[in-house]
């Protein structure tokens, strides 16, 4: 990216340069946001829908973006909320059909991991929603607690505790075999 994130934020907040900034934002952040969403919803098609919705929401709510948070944090928050909304909506049909994310993982055409990786993903899916989010963001995205706190609107202490519990549960599953 030729412009810094700060410059991009400024371009995005201005109605004159917003369109140009939006194109750069999509190119710059689509992959990072996609992988974050994908780890939550598992299926590629669902992740694609949610990613598009994330950018559409960002475009529609450009006026509400305040430069108090970074552009990436703001987008990340939208993506997280969209993913969680999707899961809550899908959970209703899952309860009816008896399917869930574990089965989605089994049937996912775009899962190329080995047995250990599959086991890890299954262990992560067994966590409560919030812990799963925290674990993915900390372990895979290597995000700082301060940034996570801004995205998830939780304290750093709560996040550390959540991550600790998540790791403990996962390790227990791994060490059980």
């Amino acid at each position: 990216m030729n412009v810094t994130e700060k410059e991009l934020s400024t371009l995005f907040t201005s109605s004159v340069t917003r369109e140009k900034a939006f194109r750069i934002i999509v190119d710059e952040y689509k992959e990072r946001l996609y992988w974050h969403i994908r780890k939550i919803v598992i299926q590629h098609e669902d992740a694609d829908d949610i990613l598009q919705n994330t950018f559409i929401k960002a475009w529609e709510n450009a006026d509400s973006f305040r430069e108090e948070s970074t552009l990436y944090t703001w987008l990340y928050r939208i993506a997280t909320n969209e993913s969680l909304s999707f899961l809550r909506k899908e959970k209703k049909s899952w309860d009816k059909n008896g399917t869930n994310l574990l089965e989605s993982l089994e049937s996912d055409a775009y899962f190329n991991g080995d047995a250990v990786q599959k086991k890890l993903q299954q262990a992560i899916l067994s966590l409560p929603e919030r812990q799963r989010l925290v674990f993915n963001m900390k372990y895979f995205d290597e995000m700082k607690y301060e940034n996570m706190a801004e995205i998830l609107e939780l304290s750093v202490g709560a996040l550390k505790a959540s991550y600790h519990h998540a790791v403990k549960k996962i390790m227990k599953i791994f060490q059980a075999d």
Binding site: R18, E19, K20, F22, R23, V26, D27, K30, E31, Y34, W35, R38, K39, H44, D48, L51, Q52, F55, I56, W59, E60, D108, Y110, F111, N112, G113, D114, V116, Q117, K118, L120, Q121, Y139, F140, V167, K168, I170, M171, F174
Partner: protein, 152 residues
Amino acid sequence: MKPQNKNYQDPKILPKGNPFSVPEGYFKSFSERLEKTMRTKDLPLPGKKINPFQRFSVSYFSLAAGFLAFVAISYALIHLILNGTSNNISKSSQYATYIDLQLEDYDDALLFEAVAQKTELEAEYQKELSEEKMIEFLLREGIELDLIINEL
């Protein structure tokens, strides 16, 4: 070296690679597909201007509607003003004619007499008023009524 907490679980033994994949060319074509989706949702696309015909037709209709409203209101106002004015004119002209007709019935002598009569009547009335007030005043002063009437 810091002694490690016995309860500490090192997650680094867990695999860190990304086990998920995407269809070939997915990210390359993403912007195009997003644009298509936004078009479907009828959102103004980044970099694309609003359909100029759409903008023109919307303003054309509002312009036409505004013009019609202006014509209607102007007609109503003009109609109101003209009718009202003509009524007033006809009324005043009718009155003037009436006065002319009335005045024709009189010659100068009769007019003078009428004016004089009016003046006398007024004078009488004024006189009566003066006497009445005087009597009131005298009664208030304690003068008896019989005495006042005798004097008058």
